[in-house]
Symmetry: C2
Subunit: 211 residues, 2 copies
């Protein structure tokens, strides 16, 4: 089983590394970070580079695709090379997945048309414009398409996906190995839970990121 994680300039690190840390524990799975070109890719802060070990054309048919999100996504929505690669991968994939605004790239490739899907809470409107049916859930399964909400939600998505691939007990073992027993010190992780002024502040700032 080959699992490809798509990264690109100005992606958000945890979008990719969250699912990686769970899915890399599938027995005999090959995990590969893929970029438009092979080489270091800088995240959205500029303070971290991950290496894309393979270029798109070196990974034409992974079994599982995970598309990370991040501000850099907006520059790729009409990138025909990437869109064609996404369509080609999806034609043979077992699972086509995304985290955060990665779902906008899947939608731009036409892969989520009419499907229930999610994204970062600030991007659900964009998702609708690209033909998907935005769904306010943390992890959304629609057939082989699995989309996760913002940034940290890729961990939950990957665990749910791992359960489907390797069984519930295997997923539980990975949850234990990664000690994923979350205890956030605040309860402000969704727009429904955060104080309204904080929601509005983040919404105002996002205008400069989501285009």
């Amino acid at each position: 089983m080959q699992i490809a994680l798509l990264v690109y300039d100005r992606f958000t690190a945890l979008d990719a590394v969250g699912p990686y840390e769970i899915l890399c524990r599938i027995p005999d799975a090959e995990i590969v970070f893929v970029g438009k070109e092979a080489g270091p890719v800088r995240t959205d802060t500029g303070a971290l580079a991950l290496t894309a070990d393979k270029a798109l054309d070196e990974v034409p048919h992974p079994d599982v695709l995970v598309v990370a999100g991040g501000p850099g996504q907006s520059a790729l929505m009409e990138d025909q090379v990437l869109i064609d690669w996404l369509r080609g991968v999806d034609a043979t994939s077992t699972w086509t997945t995304s985290v955060c605004t990665g779902s906008l790239l899947l939608a731009a490739a036409g892969l989520l048309t009419g499907r229930r899907a999610t994204s970062h809470w600030l991007a659900l409107g964009h998702l609708e414009r690209y033909g998907a049916a935005p769904t306010e859930e943390r992890v959304v399964f629609d057939g082989k398409y699995v989309t996760a909400a913002g940034v940290s939600s890729g961990i939950d998505m990957a665990l749910a996906l791992l359960g489907r691939i390797a069984g519930d007990d295997y997923a539980r073992a990975v949850q234990l190995a990664t000690e994923y027993d979350p205890q956030p010190p605040y309860d402000a992780g969704s727009p429904q839970k955060a104080p309204a002024p904080i929601v509005e502040e983040i919404r105002a700032r996002s205008r400069f990121i989501l285009t």
Copy 2:
């Protein structure tokens, strides 16, 4: 404010990237990944390389230190160059922190002697051998020393730390921006919660990792 994340061959990616994704959002903070030498560092699976942008001697006095864990930690417990660097950093740091078995490196440097601290649940015994007072909590503050349990717990630690540095509301805003509203599909993230056979299986496998 300079925040240094220490990485090394065979570290665990999420140990570093979880805290990074939270702490990088501190206004005017400089985040820097530090390695024994500057350059790409492979994680424990071999499937991912992150770039250490700076070598140890280029980052002598960060305000915040985060030491990641991972199987590669065991090869560094008597690495005098690294131990000296940890002591030097700690002499002037505002916060000295770790995730997972990163606390064993802090303990090996003598920084946790007599202090309450935590680590991956499988490594708590090791922590005690190095003079710390192992504490079965997800995030442990003891003065300026902050240690987190296994792998994913660095996210919770970083949010708690962010609250101390930038205030509770700022931390809530970052929680919302990263949509950290965890909803694990299973409830097996600690040895108290996971089914006993799964705990035993992970414990048996760990003998080959923790030395």
